[in-house]
């Protein structure tokens, strides 16, 4: 990269040296001068200069200029409202204008206390109001979605939200309606704002016009604590602050990590926290009693029972891990089971590996790419939503996006991603040639069967990504901390796992494992099941002993995201029961294993083995990305046999796990509208052949099972494929018939 040209700008007599082209607002900040803004937000694209709050006087320009629209030029002399009377007059008037119609309901408004309009009015506004006008009134609040309330009276038409909707998230659902005095922000056709990133507009709104319905009237800024932690709902690991009041998480707000999330959050990460207080949350150990279901027991008895089960099973234990445990929690479990009992057999929902560490880049590198290639069956936004925003940012910057999958720009059959990788590596591939020539190309694997990124690593190596700093590859795993859990499990012992048969005890760690059909199938073969889950519904029917699990907001520790970045989780609220590490350490003691109950100590123990001796304190609030690994020999590539393909009559079923699914989302009333409708997606060809049009009720059948769904045509879907969300697919087989009901 070339070093940017430096220019010197004088702001209110202070000199600042910045790279040419830096925004004036940032330049001023560097000189220690604030230029107040409302509509300016560099993450939303080019400035629009609408609010006129940032007016400054520039030497040599006769009129006041909107500071936010200017960039630093050499020798520029800027006078802000602090030193220029003209600018101050303009700014004062602007603020007064803005306040003409803004209601004085700060005591009622949720934004009150953390409101840019309030803050700037205090700092720059006149002390008194001169307003004797009747203010404009509207119906309020208007719920534009179950999670967001709109108050048009407070709106100052800064267009931040519509710009987010249009250019960042690209959903285009929040729009500015009408002209002149009737102008207003509205959702498109007054439909609910149903988009995966809608919640960001709450944070973007510089006034209280868009507020969260979940947080509505829950707390005021001086009554809350913000705990800096990391979202552990998906493998991106967005940095968040958990706002707590009186021991309860009230909301999740973003905490900008410029390399990971750029301050955006998906609605699942933002709104799903209320599952902590779900009605069927397990708060005490449960023991299965014949014919009576579960009976709550005390912790002493629970540990006795657990000890009995473990001793009885010996090494014939299989542990099903969720991939959402903390690194320390997984290590604690591994120490107990592998060290204490020699039970080395574990099931992870997905294979994790280090193969891609040689092509590691921060997620923000996607934005700077010129060519992004996504392979795999799943849409990126369902697996790792923020990655989708990074890709959109790249596209805005002119990058080309190639998706190779069942509904991509390059159509590929479901389950053929490994083959796609081989094709791209082949000399004849046009996309492969462009990838090879590009200095800033990104590969992304979004789907099952990536073998922890090994397939992608092989492709990257074949394309000559080694040594190219701008080129990288990402594997989007299915679980939030799969890599960390795998590393922790491996760190506890070197011994090989033998799969016991029969299984004496199945330990189900966490909710994802408890709702995994494969794990359920394993339980059929197990004599006993010990489940560690948060919710009653996940334990009923198969567990013999249930120990309460905790959520990521309730425990301390570390977690590793898809980039391989180790990030720090902090306990935002106390869990209703002791966390995993607390009882694991007591249980381990009974087996003669010394396991400290404190994540920091556990981490110190495993770090030399798993993370090169990184200290717990160094993980930090804004975690750094480890450097790229040396290119290492790749693990042997295995290809799963290709799934049976369509023969015209039978269609290939593509299941996907929607972003808004899972045990947590199911327990959040506000998010129900985001869950996938009961739909089957069909390609236009297949639908036409079956005389099915969008909205028709259809029956999807295979080998004796059938389910009724509504059809939706997807013009981009490959012919011969139908796509159904996991939760509606039930036990349909790989090939299905679709018949109009």
């Amino acid at each position: 990269m070339s070093t940017p040209e430096l220019v010197t700008v004088t702001i209110d007599g202070r000199r600042a040296e910045v790279a040419k082209g830096t925004g004036l607002v940032e330049t001023a900040l560097q000189a220690g001068v604030e230029i107040p803004v409302f509509c300016y937000e560099p993450r939303l694209g080019p400035p629009i200069g609408a609010c006129r709050m940032c007016l400054v006087e520039i030497e040599g320009m006769p009129k006041l200029q909107a500071g936010c629209t200017l960039t630093a030029q050499d020798g520029m002399a800027v006078r802000t409202a602090a030193t220029s009377e003209k600018a101050a007059e303009g700014q004062n008037a602007t603020l007064e204008f803005i306040l003409v119609n803004h209601p004085l309901d700060c005591p009622v408004c949720d934004k009150g206390g953390e409101c840019p309009l309030q803050d700037l009015t205090f700092r720059y506004g006149p002390g008194n109001t001169r307003m004797i006008f009747p203010k404009r009134t509207f119906e309020k609040p208007i719920p534009i979605s179950p999670t967001i309330a709109l108050d048009r009276e407070r709106c100052i038409l800064c267009y931040r939200c519509t710009r987010f909707s249009e250019s960042v998230a690209g959903d285009g659902q929040l729009v500015a309606r009408n002209r002149g005095a009737q102008s207003a922000i509205a959702t498109f056709e007054d439909e609910p704002y149903r988009a995966p990133f809608s919640g960001n507009v709450i944070e973007l709104c510089p006034v209280g016009a868009l507020t969260s319905t979940q947080y509505r009237f829950e707390a005021r800024p001086w009554e809350i604590q913000n705990v800096p932690t990391v979202c552990a709902m998906c493998p991106v690991g967005c940095n968040v602050s958990a706002t707590t009041r009186e021991g309860k998480v009230k909301r999740i707000v973003s905490r900008n990590h410029p390399e990971v999330d750029e301050g955006w959050l998906c609605d699942k990460g933002r709104f799903a926290h209320s599952h902590l207080r779900a009605e069927d949350r397990i708060t005490e150990p449960l023991l299965r009693v014949r014919r009576r279901g579960f009976s709550p027991i005390g912790w002493d008895q629970a540990l006795d029972e657990a000890e009995r089960l473990l001793r009885g099973a010996g090494s014939r234990i299989v542990t099903a891990l969720s991939g959402s445990e903390t690194v320390e929690g997984a290590y604690g479990l591994a120490r107990l089971l592998r060290g204490g009992l020699g039970a080395h057999s574990a099931v992870l929902p997905e294979e994790a590996g280090h193969a891609l560490d040689a092509y590691r880049l921060p997620l923000s590198a996607i934005r700077d790419a010129e060519l992004v290639v996504v392979v795999g069956d799943d849409p990126v936004s369902e697996r790792a939503p923020i990655v989708d925003l990074w890709i959109r940012a790249a596209q805005r910057g002119g990058a080309e996006l190639v998706t190779a999958g069942p509904s991509g720009t390059l159509l590929a059959a479901p389950g053929s991603a490994a083959q796609v990788c081989r094709d791209l590596a082949a000399p004849g591939s046009e996309v492969g040639r462009r990838l090879r020539e590009s200095a800033r190309a990104i590969l992304i694997w979004s789907g099952q069967g990536g073998q922890g990124g090994a397939h992608l690593a092989a492709l990257a190596r074949a394309l000559g990504f080694d040594g190219k700093e701008g080129c990288g590859a990402f594997h989007l795993p299915a679980t939030p901390n799969g890599r960390g859990v795998a590393a922790a499990w491996a760190a506890a012992s070197d011994e090989e796992a033998e799969n016991p048969e029969p299984i004496s005890l199945l330990i189900v760690s966490g909710d994802e494992a408890a709702s995994d059909p494969n794990v359920r199938a394993l339980a059929e073969r197990a004599e006993a099941v010990l489940a560690i889950t948060m919710f009653h519904a996940l334990a009923v029917g198969w567990a013999d002993l249930v120990l309460p699990a905790t959520s990521y907001l309730e425990r301390d520790g570390t977690t590793m995201n898809l980039e391989g970045r180790l990030q720090r989780l902090r306990r935002a609220v106390m869990p209703p029961a002791p966390d995993e590490l607390a009882w694991l350490s007591q249980l381990a003691e009974r087996f003669g294993i010394a396991l400290p109950p404190y994540p920091a100590l556990v981490f110190e123990e495993l770090s030399p083995v798993a993370f090169g001796g990184l200290a717990f304190g160094e993980v930090g609030e804004r975690a750094a990305l480890p450097p790229r690994a040396e290119a290492a020999p790749l693990p042997p590539l295995e290809s799963a046999p290709p799934p049976p393909t369509s023969d015209g009559h039978y269609l290939q079923l593509l299941r996907y796990r929607p972003l808004f699914s899972g045990a947590a989302v199911e327990r959040v009333p506000e998010l129900q509208f985001q869950r996938p409708p009961r739909e089957v997606e069909l390609s236009a060809d297949d639908a036409e052949r079956r005389r099915i049009s969008s909205g028709d009720e259809v029956s999807v059948r295979s080998n004796g099972t059938s389910t009724a769904l509504r059809a939706r045509l997807d013009r981009r879907l490959a012919p011969g494929v139908v796509r159904i969300a996991e939760e509606h697919a039930g036990d349909l087989h790989a090939l299905v018939e679709v018949v109009k009901a």
Partner: protein, 523 residues
């Protein structure tokens, strides 16, 4: 039903984003008012997100109303001649399924009070309206309409296009003529053309025919009477700028002008004058702000017509980011005469719309330093009533008392009165029409037509309208010094001319009719 009719039309509609406004206009004319279903169908056809089409269609006043809606003009001149009462009466007697719409200006002020149903003009109060009353005029020659291209050629037209002067000569003549944009801002045309010549190709030429200023009807006269003259000027501009694509952005209300221009363009095409060039008619949909050149560009690119930040000016970053020459209709229409006579000898003049309380309202070409009294007496048949207030040139030009009747209507002379010639729309108001009402109506116009992008214009105009309305009831909404502060702030901090110009009539009234503002206290 509508969607079915749309499906057959859709296939014909072009899909580039720049065609959005045109497509919406066509659907409205051929299918019906743009409903949610229609807008969605169009969005799908053009591969634009539904919400964006929704944003755009709701920005314009007319896309959601039927073509045959009855539109009653309540601009200041019409208001003065009883448009409100007319509107009330019409609303009362209209059949229940008819749409009656109050619009801020229809651009037919000489027929005030006026309404339109679809493309038909309904001049209330006059049985036999004189549609065009114009003088011969040395530069534009509006006294005689050109029916066909042959008529135009017979009067010496097209000569310049055939023997195209060199760009250097064109520039020299333009500069010598001192021609300054007649759309209102008065930027020297020579400098504008010089700037565009320095920019890289490809370049575009756009004719600003979105004349929306209440009281200004001159461009309509040019387009209706001498469309070929305008086209020759436009083609000269395109040849000069070496632009192969040109556009005429016409306001929706000008149906006759639309037809005549379209016919004239057809004639030009048939005569081979457009070979290798494209000249398109873009029809607006009822948004005054789109007359602002950058808002017009946004509108043409298929977005909400909100002005862009300047700089960069359109001459550098215009239509689709390319250098673009934007000129007003009348400005372009003068260019053939300038080139024919030579810049020095060109009879400097401009076209004045004279409307209101005069016997023979119309458009008259007169010298730049003509006085209102001369315009009224010599050109417009004299005043029909005792003169109360005069507006020299469109809504944002100022409001003058009868004492100013003998002031030459030049930029310099009017500056002393705190006013300007603007778009030369002289409106004469009778004494019975209260100046405060006039001011209030003007501010209402600005408040309703503000695009709502920047704060000062968005809030300021609404507040000023409120103040005027309160003053009519003898109440003060705000002390005078504060109003003055706000006026300064609006002029200094608004993005475009609408917000910057809106304070002018208020300041003018403050200065020239201090007694009206007594309730506000002293300055």
């Amino acid at each position: 039903m509508d969607v079915l009719r749309l499906t057959s039309l859709l296939a014909e509609l072009p899909t580039p984003r720049t065609s959005l406004l045109d497509n919406l206009g066509r659907i409205r004319r051929e299918v019906g008012p743009i409903t949610a279903e229609l807008s969605d169908a169009l969005a799908d056809h053009m591969n634009i997100r539904h919400g964006e089409v929704h944003e755009v269609k709701s920005f314009y006043s007319f896309l959601e109303v039927p073509v045959d809606a009855l539109r009653v003009c309540t601009g200041p001149v019409c208001d003065c001649f009883g448009a409100r009462a007319l509107l009330a009466r019409t609303q009362e007697h209209a059949p229940p399924d008819a749409t009656v719409l109050e619009v801020p200006c229809l651009g037919h002020c000489e027929l005030a009070p006026v309404a339109t149903r679809g493309d038909t003009i309904l001049p209330f109060g006059r049985d036999e309206p004189v549609l065009h009353r114009a003088n011969e005029g040395p530069s534009l020659g509006l006294g005689q309409a050109d029916g066909t291209l042959a008529d135009y050629e017979r009067r010496g037209g097209l000569e310049l296009l055939r023997s195209l002067p060199s760009p250097e000569r064109i520039l020299a003549e333009l500069k010598a003529s001192g021609l300054a944009g007649y759309g209102g801002a008065g930027f020297p045309t020579g400098l504008k053309w010089e700037a565009i010549a320095a920019e890289p190709e490809p370049r575009y030429v756009i004719v600003n025919a979105d004349e929306g200023e209440p009281g200004t009807i001159k461009d309509r006269y040019v387009m209706e009477l001498r469309p070929h003259l305008l086209l020759e000027g436009t083609l000269l501009a395109m040849r000069f700028a070496r632009a192969t694509e040109g556009f005429v952005y016409l306001r929706e209300e000008y149906a006759t002008a639309r037809d005549r221009l379209a016919r004239a363009i057809g004639e030009f095409r048939a005569a081979g004058l457009l070979d290798g060039l494209s000249l398109e008619l873009v029809v607006g949909a009822g948004a005054y702000i789109c007359g602002e050149e950058t808002a017009m560009l946004e509108s043409m690119e298929g977005r909400r017509g909100m002005p862009r930040l300047k700089p960069p000016y359109p001459s550098r970053f215009g239509y689709l980011g390319r250098p673009t020459l934007i000129n007003n209709v009348e400005t372009l229409a003068h260019i053939p005469a300038i080139l024919r006579a030579g810049g020095e000898r060109w009879p400097r003049g401009r076209l004045w719309s004279v409307t209101g309380a005069v016997r023979e309202p119309g458009c008259f070409e007169a010298p730049l330093d003509v006085t209102p009294r001369r315009l009224i007496e010599e050109y417009a048949g004299g005043a029909s009533d005792e003169i109360g207030a005069i507006v020299p040139g469109g809504a944002a030009s100022g409001i003058l008392p009868p004492a100013a009747l003998d002031v030459p209507l030049t930029r310099e002379a009017l500056r002393e009165w705190g006013a300007g010639p603007g778009s030369a729309g002289l409106q004469v108001f009778p004494r019975r029409y209260p100046p405060l009402r006039l001011l209030g109506e003007t501010m209402r116009f600005f408040a309703e037509e503000s695009c709502q992008k920047c704060t000062p214009c968005r809030i300021g105009n609404r507040a000023l309208h409120h103040i005027c309305a309160e003053l009519e009831h003898g109440e003060a909404a705000m002390p005078r010094p504060q109003v003055e502060e706000w006026l300064d702030a609006m002029a200094a901090t608004s993005i475009c001319g609408l917000g910057q110009g809106a304070p002018i009539p208020v300041r003018n009234a403050f200065r020239l009719w201090p007694e009206l503002f007594a309730p506000l206290g002293s300055a």
